[in-house]
């Protein structure tokens, strides 16, 4: 197969995964949240336990009037959903489900994933600024402060795993993983999970979109399909972060029959992490802005640095 044709086929496959996995997570969130709160959740759309609820939501979003506020910075306002969404697609393309089931094989995939996730954040900032709305501006500022603070512990936690494996390739890291890492890299895993939740602006880190204070933060002025794209970006973000956690800290495809079923183990581990993220949303109240910053700088950064020292000393001692 010519490299160009192969690239197109792979891109289409990644796009298909990108459009189906977030729906699965979204439906899981509807159902898991509902049952944790003693309700049923969606039951009608599609017949069986409301499985088509999110498809119906999508159809509704396409048909809604899309308002472009008169005061808004029009170009930036229009571009923001794309800037928020596309980086997660690129991130998903380099996350391996098994050594063979991977969209794009690149050498320094760890650095690439971290870099593109950082770009996605600019979409939120653009939305907050371009809306010319006070709620949006406040939300955008909060988002910027939060993302700047939590990016750092996340990068440090990932660097620790890269040190432990001695490679910058996600495939290489998951290949180097051993069950011993569950203990050795546990502080880093904790830091990564908390920082990932904060990067996604999910409860309890949803101060930038706190509905009781600033309506919906940076997305206040959005409606219709543009708003749906921000929602899709959030759920695609959950998929990316969960799979990344599974590959970096849980060994990805390590499991019985990994030659044939490796991709399934990665997906199942990622799904378990996603359910954990939903569980945290149901369990904890929103953190205040100063508590958020304090958690990042006083707890997560020092823990991540300690983990880094632990990893580096461990590697030098054993090699």
């Amino acid at each position: 197969m010519s490299p160009w044709l192969e690239a197109v086929v792979r891109a289409v496959a990644v796009l298909a995964a990108f459009l189906s996995l977030p729906l699965l997570i979204g439906q899981t969130e509807h159902k898991v949240m509902a049952h944790m709160q003693g309700r049923l959740g969606p039951m009608y759309a599609g017949g069986f336990h409301g499985w088509a609820q999110l498809v119906a939501d999508g159809v509704k979003f396409v048909q809604k009037e899309d308002i472009l506020p008169a005061r808004a910075d029009r170009g930036v306002f229009r571009l923001a959903p794309a800037v928020a969404l596309i980086p997660y697609l690129v991130a998903l393309s380099v996350i391996p489900l098994s050594p063979t089931v991977v969209g794009a094989t690149v050498d320094a995939s760890v650095v690439l994933v971290l870099a593109v996730i950082g770009v996605g954040i600019i979409g939120t900032l653009m939305a907050g600024w371009a809306s010319a709305n006070k709620y949006s501006l406040l939300g955008g500022m909060r988002a910027a402060a939060q993302l700047v603070s939590y990016e750092l512990p996340m990068v440090l936690a990932v660097a620790s795993v890269a040190l432990a494996a001695g490679t910058l390739s996600l495939v290489g890291i998951a290949e180097a993983w051993s069950p011993w890492w569950l203990l050795w890299q546990a502080p880093g895993a904790f830091v990564f999970l908390v920082a990932a939740l904060a990067e996604l602006q999910r409860p309890p880190f949803d101060m930038p979109v706190a509905d009781s204070e600033i309506v919906f933060g940076p997305y206040t002025e959005y409606s219709g399909l543009r708003f749906a794209f921000f929602l899709l970006a959030e759920y695609a973000g959950i998929v990316v972060m969960s799979l990344l956690f599974a590959v970096l800290f849980l060994g990805g495809w390590a499991g019985p029959f990994e030659a044939w079923l490796g991709w399934l183990w990665t997906l199942l581990k990622g799904f378990a992490v996603a359910v954990l993220m939903i569980w945290m949303r149901v369990s904890w109240p929103r953190m205040r802005e100063d508590q958020l910053q304090r958690l990042a700088w006083v707890w997560l950064v020092p823990i991540a640095l300690l983990q880094l020292a632990l990893t580096a000393v461990g590697v030098v001692m054993t090699s």
């Binding site: 891109a11 990644v14 005061r71 600024w129 500022m141 440090l156 001695g166 640095l305 020292a309």
Partner: protein, 119 residues
């Protein structure tokens, strides 16, 4: 390089998805704008002033700290690939220890001076 060709194709697919979705929206969504609908939303009252109001940027110290540590983090990744080598491993461990130690000292100083408080 074949990997980066795929990454490029994926970016193209993302742009195509966005353009196609926006075209679908243009075809399917109703459009009936009037002045009140296009006004900036401010909880139902008429907006006061402009949206880009002056505000105190409370987190600029955090962004300075972030820049310092982000540069530090970039040095960590190449280090990961040489830590196991026999001639560089131990020496690089000590050097990185000193390097990160200096930065942590700076963070501790910032914390002691109360810069990490949200004011």
């Amino acid at each position: 390089m074949a990997g980066y060709l795929v990454v490029g194709a994926v970016v193209g697919a993302g742009v195509l998805l966005f353009v196609a979705a926006m075209a679908a929206r243009r075809l399917l969504a109703p459009r009936a704008p009037w002045a009140a609908k296009l006004t900036t939303y401010e909880s139902g009252v008429d907006p006061v002033g402009v949206g880009w109001a002056q505000t105190k940027v409370r987190y600029f110290v955090f962004s300075f700290l972030y820049v310092i540590f982000a540069v530090d983090a970039i040095y960590l990744f190449p280090w990961a690939t040489v830590l196991r080598s026999a001639d560089l491993g131990r020496a690089s461990l000590v050097e990185m220890g000193i390097f990160i130690g200096v930065i942590v000292l700076g963070l501790a100083h910032a914390a002691r001076r109360g810069l990490l408080r949200w004011v």
